[in-house]
Amino acid sequence: MGLEAAITAEGFMTTQLKRVINWGRRSSLWPMPFATACCGIELMATASSRYDLARFGAEVMRFSPRQADLMIVAGRISIKTMPVLQRIYQQMAEPKWVISMGACASTGGVFDTYAVVQGCDQFLPVDVYVPGCPPRPEQLIEGVMAIQRIIDEDGIPPKGPDGKRIPLGIALQPKRQPVPQPMPLTLN
Protein backbone atom coordinates (compact mmCIF):
# COMPACT_ATOMS: atom_id res chain seq x y z
CA MET A 1 0.00 0.00 0.00
CA GLY A 2 2.97 2.25 0.45
CA LEU A 3 1.50 3.50 3.72
CA GLU A 4 4.42 2.38 5.82
CA ALA A 5 6.41 5.34 4.54
CA ALA A 6 3.78 7.78 5.82
CA ILE A 7 2.79 6.12 9.09
CA THR A 8 5.15 4.72 11.66
CA ALA A 9 5.11 1.00 12.15
CA GLU A 10 3.46 1.42 15.53
CA GLY A 11 0.70 3.66 14.19
CA PHE A 12 -2.78 2.47 13.29
CA MET A 13 -5.59 3.52 11.00
CA THR A 14 -9.31 2.88 10.89
CA THR A 15 -11.30 1.88 7.84
CA GLN A 16 -14.33 -0.11 6.87
CA LEU A 17 -14.02 -3.88 6.81
CA LYS A 18 -15.54 -4.07 3.33
CA ARG A 19 -12.96 -1.66 2.00
CA VAL A 20 -10.13 -3.79 3.32
CA ILE A 21 -11.69 -6.95 1.91
CA ASN A 22 -12.40 -5.37 -1.45
CA TRP A 23 -8.86 -4.02 -1.53
CA GLY A 24 -7.61 -7.54 -0.95
CA ARG A 25 -9.85 -8.99 -3.61
CA ARG A 26 -9.07 -6.43 -6.26
CA SER A 27 -5.34 -6.67 -5.68
CA SER A 28 -5.09 -10.42 -5.97
CA LEU A 29 -7.41 -11.46 -8.75
CA TRP A 30 -6.53 -14.98 -9.76
CA PRO A 31 -7.65 -15.55 -13.33
CA MET A 32 -8.86 -18.83 -14.74
CA PRO A 33 -7.68 -18.67 -18.37
CA PHE A 34 -10.37 -20.34 -20.44
CA ALA A 35 -8.40 -19.86 -23.63
CA THR A 36 -9.91 -21.77 -26.53
CA ALA A 37 -8.53 -19.95 -29.57
CA CYS A 38 -6.25 -17.20 -30.84
CA CYS A 39 -7.32 -14.72 -28.13
CA GLY A 40 -5.57 -17.04 -25.72
CA ILE A 41 -2.26 -16.10 -27.31
CA GLU A 42 -2.88 -12.46 -26.53
CA LEU A 43 -3.91 -13.47 -23.03
CA MET A 44 -0.51 -15.13 -22.65
CA ALA A 45 1.19 -12.00 -23.94
CA THR A 46 -0.72 -9.98 -21.36
CA ALA A 47 0.64 -12.15 -18.59
CA SER A 48 4.19 -12.16 -19.90
CA SER A 49 6.92 -9.70 -19.09
CA ARG A 50 6.28 -7.02 -21.70
CA TYR A 51 2.78 -6.17 -20.46
CA ASP A 52 3.09 -7.81 -17.06
CA LEU A 53 -0.37 -8.37 -15.68
CA ALA A 54 1.36 -8.87 -12.32
CA ARG A 55 1.43 -5.11 -11.94
CA PHE A 56 -2.32 -5.37 -11.35
CA GLY A 57 -2.16 -8.34 -9.03
CA ALA A 58 -3.61 -10.77 -11.53
CA GLU A 59 -0.64 -12.80 -12.64
CA VAL A 60 -1.41 -16.08 -10.90
CA MET A 61 -3.18 -18.05 -13.60
CA ARG A 62 -5.07 -20.86 -11.95
CA PHE A 63 -6.02 -23.85 -13.98
CA SER A 64 -8.19 -25.13 -11.19
CA PRO A 65 -11.48 -23.23 -11.04
CA ARG A 66 -11.57 -23.81 -7.29
CA GLN A 67 -8.64 -21.47 -6.86
CA ALA A 68 -9.68 -18.79 -9.32
CA ASP A 69 -11.97 -15.83 -9.00
CA LEU A 70 -11.81 -14.27 -12.45
CA MET A 71 -12.78 -16.31 -15.47
CA ILE A 72 -11.30 -14.96 -18.71
CA VAL A 73 -13.16 -16.49 -21.66
CA ALA A 74 -10.69 -16.01 -24.48
CA GLY A 75 -11.77 -17.47 -27.79
CA ARG A 76 -14.53 -19.23 -29.64
CA ILE A 77 -16.92 -21.28 -27.55
CA SER A 78 -18.10 -24.26 -29.57
CA ILE A 79 -21.28 -26.11 -28.80
CA LYS A 80 -19.22 -28.88 -27.28
CA THR A 81 -17.30 -26.48 -25.04
CA MET A 82 -20.25 -24.49 -23.71
CA PRO A 83 -21.37 -27.10 -21.12
CA VAL A 84 -17.76 -27.42 -19.99
CA LEU A 85 -17.46 -23.66 -19.62
CA GLN A 86 -20.63 -23.54 -17.55
CA ARG A 87 -19.45 -26.39 -15.36
CA ILE A 88 -16.14 -24.66 -14.74
CA TYR A 89 -17.92 -21.40 -13.95
CA GLN A 90 -20.10 -23.18 -11.44
CA GLN A 91 -17.07 -24.78 -9.85
CA MET A 92 -15.50 -21.41 -9.10
CA ALA A 93 -16.06 -20.21 -5.57
CA GLU A 94 -17.84 -16.93 -4.88
CA PRO A 95 -17.05 -14.14 -5.31
CA LYS A 96 -16.28 -14.55 -8.99
CA TRP A 97 -16.23 -12.43 -12.09
CA VAL A 98 -16.18 -13.13 -15.82
CA ILE A 99 -14.42 -11.30 -18.64
CA SER A 100 -15.52 -12.11 -22.15
CA MET A 101 -12.42 -11.44 -24.23
CA GLY A 102 -12.64 -10.81 -27.95
CA ALA A 103 -15.32 -10.78 -30.60
CA CYS A 104 -15.76 -14.54 -30.61
CA ALA A 105 -16.42 -15.02 -26.92
CA SER A 106 -18.80 -12.07 -26.86
CA THR A 107 -20.72 -12.57 -30.11
CA GLY A 108 -19.40 -15.56 -32.01
CA GLY A 109 -17.35 -13.21 -34.18
CA VAL A 110 -17.12 -14.16 -37.82
CA PHE A 111 -17.95 -17.76 -36.98
CA ASP A 112 -21.68 -17.63 -37.57
CA THR A 113 -22.03 -21.40 -37.88
CA TYR A 114 -23.89 -24.24 -36.24
CA ALA A 115 -20.87 -25.17 -34.14
CA VAL A 116 -20.07 -21.86 -32.45
CA VAL A 117 -22.09 -20.33 -29.64
CA GLN A 118 -22.98 -16.77 -30.62
CA GLY A 119 -21.78 -15.15 -27.43
CA CYS A 120 -21.08 -16.92 -24.17
CA ASP A 121 -23.05 -14.20 -22.37
CA GLN A 122 -26.29 -15.81 -23.52
CA PHE A 123 -25.69 -18.63 -21.10
CA LEU A 124 -23.21 -17.20 -18.60
CA PRO A 125 -23.21 -13.95 -16.62
CA VAL A 126 -20.45 -11.77 -18.05
CA ASP A 127 -19.18 -8.73 -16.14
CA VAL A 128 -16.85 -7.10 -18.63
CA TYR A 129 -16.57 -7.38 -22.40
CA VAL A 130 -13.23 -6.69 -24.02
CA PRO A 131 -13.71 -5.88 -27.71
CA GLY A 132 -11.21 -6.71 -30.44
CA CYS A 133 -10.02 -9.53 -32.61
CA PRO A 134 -7.89 -10.17 -30.71
CA PRO A 135 -7.89 -7.38 -28.12
CA ARG A 136 -4.47 -5.92 -27.48
CA PRO A 137 -2.97 -6.68 -24.08
CA GLU A 138 -3.58 -3.09 -23.03
CA GLN A 139 -7.26 -3.62 -23.68
CA LEU A 140 -7.35 -6.77 -21.62
CA ILE A 141 -5.54 -4.97 -18.81
CA GLU A 142 -8.19 -2.27 -19.02
CA GLY A 143 -10.78 -5.04 -18.73
CA VAL A 144 -9.09 -6.38 -15.61
CA MET A 145 -9.01 -2.87 -14.21
CA ALA A 146 -12.73 -2.54 -14.93
CA ILE A 147 -13.24 -5.68 -12.85
CA GLN A 148 -11.22 -4.00 -10.12
CA ARG A 149 -13.52 -0.99 -10.25
CA ILE A 150 -16.52 -3.30 -9.99
CA ILE A 151 -14.98 -4.94 -6.94
CA ASP A 152 -14.29 -1.56 -5.38
CA GLU A 153 -17.96 -0.69 -5.51
CA ASP A 154 -19.27 -4.10 -4.63
CA GLY A 155 -19.72 -4.28 -0.89
CA ILE A 156 -19.96 -7.08 1.61
CA PRO A 157 -22.29 -8.46 2.89
CA PRO A 158 -24.06 -9.57 -0.26
CA LYS A 159 -26.99 -7.40 -1.06
CA GLY A 160 -29.30 -9.94 -2.69
CA PRO A 161 -32.44 -11.14 -0.91
CA ASP A 162 -31.19 -14.74 -0.97
CA GLY A 163 -27.87 -13.79 0.56
CA LYS A 164 -25.98 -14.15 -2.73
CA ARG A 165 -23.91 -11.49 -4.35
CA ILE A 166 -25.75 -9.22 -6.75
CA PRO A 167 -23.21 -7.27 -8.75
CA LEU A 168 -23.51 -3.78 -10.08
CA GLY A 169 -26.13 -3.14 -12.67
CA ILE A 170 -23.52 -2.67 -15.37
CA ALA A 171 -23.43 -6.36 -16.28
CA LEU A 172 -25.83 -7.74 -18.83
CA GLN A 173 -27.97 -10.63 -17.73
CA PRO A 174 -28.50 -13.27 -20.38
CA LYS A 175 -31.88 -12.68 -21.89
CA ARG A 176 -31.70 -13.91 -25.45
CA GLN A 177 -34.41 -16.29 -26.61
CA PRO A 178 -33.40 -19.03 -29.03
CA VAL A 179 -34.80 -18.47 -32.49
CA PRO A 180 -35.53 -21.16 -35.05
CA GLN A 181 -33.02 -21.23 -37.86
CA PRO A 182 -34.03 -20.70 -41.47
CA MET A 183 -33.36 -23.62 -43.77
CA PRO A 184 -33.22 -22.23 -47.29
CA LEU A 185 -31.45 -24.99 -49.23
CA THR A 186 -33.67 -27.68 -50.69
CA LEU A 187 -33.00 -30.82 -52.64
CA ASN A 188 -33.04 -29.71 -56.28
Binding site: K80, Q86, Q90, Y114, A115, L124, P125, P174, Q181, L185
Partner: protein, 189 residues
Protein backbone atom coordinates in the same frame (compact mmCIF):
# COMPACT_ATOMS: atom_id res chain seq x y z
CA UNK B 1 -14.75 -13.15 -70.49
CA UNK B 2 -14.07 -15.88 -73.05
CA UNK B 3 -15.68 -19.17 -72.15
CA UNK B 4 -13.28 -21.53 -70.44
CA UNK B 5 -11.96 -24.23 -72.68
CA UNK B 6 -13.39 -27.63 -71.74
CA UNK B 7 -10.85 -29.51 -69.70
CA UNK B 8 -9.40 -32.53 -71.46
CA UNK B 9 -8.16 -35.05 -68.91
CA UNK B 10 -4.82 -36.59 -69.61
CA UNK B 11 -5.25 -40.21 -68.57
CA UNK B 12 -1.70 -41.52 -68.76
CA UNK B 13 -1.19 -42.39 -65.12
CA UNK B 14 0.48 -45.84 -65.21
CA UNK B 15 -1.74 -47.15 -62.42
CA UNK B 16 -4.86 -46.75 -64.54
CA UNK B 17 -3.53 -49.31 -67.00
CA UNK B 18 -2.68 -51.76 -64.25
CA UNK B 19 -6.16 -51.49 -62.76
CA UNK B 20 -7.71 -52.00 -66.16
CA UNK B 21 -5.62 -55.12 -66.73
CA UNK B 22 -6.39 -56.57 -63.37
CA UNK B 23 -10.17 -55.94 -63.51
CA UNK B 24 -11.06 -56.34 -67.21
CA UNK B 25 -14.80 -56.77 -66.61
CA UNK B 26 -15.29 -53.96 -64.13
CA UNK B 27 -16.53 -50.56 -65.18
CA UNK B 28 -14.37 -47.63 -64.10
CA UNK B 29 -14.28 -43.97 -64.82
CA UNK B 30 -11.18 -41.87 -64.56
CA UNK B 31 -10.38 -38.22 -64.63
CA UNK B 32 -7.35 -36.02 -64.30
CA UNK B 33 -6.86 -32.43 -63.26
CA UNK B 34 -3.52 -30.63 -63.06
CA UNK B 35 -1.54 -33.82 -62.94
CA UNK B 36 -3.66 -35.53 -60.31
CA UNK B 37 -5.48 -38.62 -61.49
CA UNK B 38 -8.66 -39.97 -59.92
CA UNK B 39 -10.20 -43.35 -60.45
CA UNK B 40 -13.94 -43.54 -59.91
CA UNK B 41 -15.00 -46.92 -58.58
CA UNK B 42 -18.44 -48.36 -57.87
CA UNK B 43 -19.02 -49.13 -54.18
CA UNK B 44 -19.22 -52.89 -54.71
CA UNK B 45 -15.77 -53.07 -56.40
CA UNK B 46 -14.15 -50.55 -54.12
CA UNK B 47 -12.51 -52.74 -51.52
CA UNK B 48 -11.03 -55.17 -54.02
CA UNK B 49 -9.53 -52.33 -56.05
CA UNK B 50 -8.06 -50.77 -52.95
CA UNK B 51 -6.48 -54.04 -51.93
CA UNK B 52 -4.93 -54.35 -55.38
CA UNK B 53 -3.60 -50.80 -55.24
CA UNK B 54 -1.90 -51.50 -51.95
CA UNK B 55 -0.63 -55.05 -52.57
CA UNK B 56 0.45 -55.07 -56.20
CA UNK B 57 4.15 -54.28 -56.22
CA UNK B 58 3.84 -52.06 -59.32
CA UNK B 59 1.29 -49.88 -57.50
CA UNK B 60 2.40 -50.30 -53.87
CA UNK B 61 0.39 -47.41 -52.48
CA UNK B 62 1.52 -48.04 -48.95
CA UNK B 63 0.31 -44.79 -47.42
CA UNK B 64 -3.22 -43.48 -47.13
CA UNK B 65 -2.62 -39.76 -47.09
CA UNK B 66 -6.19 -38.78 -46.42
CA UNK B 67 -9.81 -39.62 -46.93
CA UNK B 68 -12.69 -37.19 -46.99
CA UNK B 69 -16.26 -36.74 -48.13
CA UNK B 70 -17.88 -34.35 -50.61
CA UNK B 71 -21.53 -33.39 -50.98
CA UNK B 72 -22.34 -32.46 -54.59
CA UNK B 73 -25.83 -31.07 -53.89
CA UNK B 74 -26.50 -28.13 -56.25
CA UNK B 75 -23.08 -28.61 -57.85
CA UNK B 76 -23.05 -26.89 -61.25
CA UNK B 77 -21.51 -29.73 -63.24
CA UNK B 78 -23.35 -33.08 -63.39
CA UNK B 79 -21.89 -35.72 -61.11
CA UNK B 80 -22.38 -39.49 -60.94
CA UNK B 81 -23.87 -39.24 -57.46
CA UNK B 82 -24.78 -36.98 -54.59
CA UNK B 83 -21.98 -37.88 -52.19
CA UNK B 84 -18.41 -38.87 -52.89
CA UNK B 85 -15.73 -40.26 -50.64
CA UNK B 86 -12.21 -39.60 -51.87
CA UNK B 87 -9.13 -41.56 -50.87
CA UNK B 88 -5.73 -40.05 -51.47
CA UNK B 89 -3.08 -42.77 -51.82
CA UNK B 90 0.65 -42.28 -51.85
CA UNK B 91 3.51 -44.57 -52.74
CA UNK B 92 6.21 -43.54 -50.30
CA UNK B 93 9.04 -44.85 -52.52
CA UNK B 94 8.12 -43.05 -55.73
CA UNK B 95 6.04 -40.26 -54.14
CA UNK B 96 3.36 -41.19 -56.62
CA UNK B 97 -0.12 -39.99 -55.76
CA UNK B 98 -3.40 -41.57 -56.80
CA UNK B 99 -6.97 -40.67 -55.94
CA UNK B 100 -9.82 -43.14 -55.67
CA UNK B 101 -13.34 -41.81 -55.58
CA UNK B 102 -16.57 -43.60 -54.68
CA UNK B 103 -19.95 -42.05 -55.35
CA UNK B 104 -23.03 -42.96 -53.35
CA UNK B 105 -26.61 -41.77 -53.67
CA UNK B 106 -28.93 -41.51 -50.69
CA UNK B 107 -32.18 -43.48 -50.66
CA UNK B 108 -33.71 -41.64 -47.70
CA UNK B 109 -34.24 -37.92 -47.08
CA UNK B 110 -30.91 -36.47 -46.03
CA UNK B 111 -32.11 -34.21 -43.23
CA UNK B 112 -32.22 -37.01 -40.68
CA UNK B 113 -29.65 -39.24 -39.06
CA UNK B 114 -31.23 -42.65 -39.56
CA UNK B 115 -29.10 -45.31 -41.17
CA UNK B 116 -29.38 -45.18 -44.94
CA UNK B 117 -28.52 -48.56 -46.52
CA UNK B 118 -27.52 -46.80 -49.75
CA UNK B 119 -24.94 -44.65 -47.97
CA UNK B 120 -22.60 -47.48 -47.05
CA UNK B 121 -19.21 -48.34 -48.46
CA UNK B 122 -16.54 -50.77 -47.37
CA UNK B 123 -14.01 -49.55 -44.88
CA UNK B 124 -10.34 -49.77 -45.79
CA UNK B 125 -9.20 -49.85 -42.18
CA UNK B 126 -8.01 -53.41 -42.71
CA UNK B 127 -5.67 -52.19 -45.49
CA UNK B 128 -4.55 -48.86 -44.05
CA UNK B 129 -5.21 -48.57 -40.31
CA UNK B 130 -4.87 -44.80 -40.67
CA UNK B 131 -8.30 -44.76 -42.33
CA UNK B 132 -10.01 -45.20 -39.02
CA UNK B 133 -10.39 -41.59 -37.91
CA UNK B 134 -10.97 -40.00 -41.34
CA UNK B 135 -13.72 -42.52 -42.03
CA UNK B 136 -15.29 -41.70 -38.71
CA UNK B 137 -15.17 -38.05 -39.68
CA UNK B 138 -16.85 -38.78 -43.02
CA UNK B 139 -19.55 -40.65 -41.12
CA UNK B 140 -19.96 -37.83 -38.64
CA UNK B 141 -20.11 -35.05 -41.20
CA UNK B 142 -21.93 -36.77 -44.08
CA UNK B 143 -23.69 -39.79 -42.58
CA UNK B 144 -21.89 -42.24 -44.87
CA UNK B 145 -21.26 -45.46 -42.96
CA UNK B 146 -18.40 -47.88 -43.47
CA UNK B 147 -18.75 -51.66 -43.46
CA UNK B 148 -16.38 -53.53 -41.13
CA UNK B 149 -15.08 -50.39 -39.56
CA UNK B 150 -13.65 -51.25 -36.12
CA UNK B 151 -15.26 -48.28 -34.34
CA UNK B 152 -18.03 -46.63 -36.35
CA UNK B 153 -18.88 -43.75 -34.04
CA UNK B 154 -19.01 -40.01 -34.52
CA UNK B 155 -15.68 -38.33 -33.94
CA UNK B 156 -16.24 -34.56 -33.75
CA UNK B 157 -19.83 -34.03 -32.69
CA UNK B 158 -21.40 -36.01 -29.91
CA UNK B 159 -23.18 -39.32 -30.24
CA UNK B 160 -26.77 -37.97 -30.30
CA UNK B 161 -26.05 -35.03 -32.57
CA UNK B 162 -29.23 -34.52 -34.62
CA UNK B 163 -27.66 -34.07 -38.05
CA UNK B 164 -24.71 -34.55 -40.33
CA UNK B 165 -23.50 -30.99 -40.54
CA UNK B 166 -21.42 -30.94 -43.72
CA UNK B 167 -24.35 -32.04 -45.86
CA UNK B 168 -25.28 -29.13 -48.06
CA UNK B 169 -28.93 -29.25 -47.03
CA UNK B 170 -27.97 -28.85 -43.39
CA UNK B 171 -28.41 -25.16 -42.59
CA UNK B 172 -25.14 -23.32 -41.98
CA UNK B 173 -26.39 -21.94 -38.69
CA UNK B 174 -27.62 -25.33 -37.54
CA UNK B 175 -31.06 -26.23 -36.38
CA UNK B 176 -30.78 -24.65 -32.94
CA UNK B 177 -27.91 -26.76 -31.62
CA UNK B 178 -26.03 -23.64 -30.63
CA UNK B 179 -29.03 -22.09 -28.89
CA UNK B 180 -30.13 -24.80 -26.50
CA UNK B 181 -28.09 -24.56 -23.34
CA UNK B 182 -29.24 -24.01 -19.85
CA UNK B 183 -28.79 -20.44 -18.69
CA UNK B 184 -26.43 -20.12 -15.76
CA UNK B 185 -27.05 -16.88 -13.91
CA UNK B 186 -25.64 -15.28 -10.81
CA UNK B 187 -27.87 -17.10 -8.40
CA UNK B 188 -26.93 -20.44 -9.88
CA UNK B 189 -23.62 -21.23 -8.33
Amino acid sequence: MPAAKPHKPNLDHPTLKLVKEKFPDTKFKATEYRGQTSLIVAPQDFHEVMRFLRDDERCAYDFLSECFGIDYLNYPAPQPGRFAVVYNLVNTKTADRFFVKVYVDPSLPTDGIEKDPALVIDSVCDLWPSAEWPEREVFDMFGIRFNDHPDMRRILTWEEYPGHPLRKDYPLRGRGEREHFKIVDRSDA
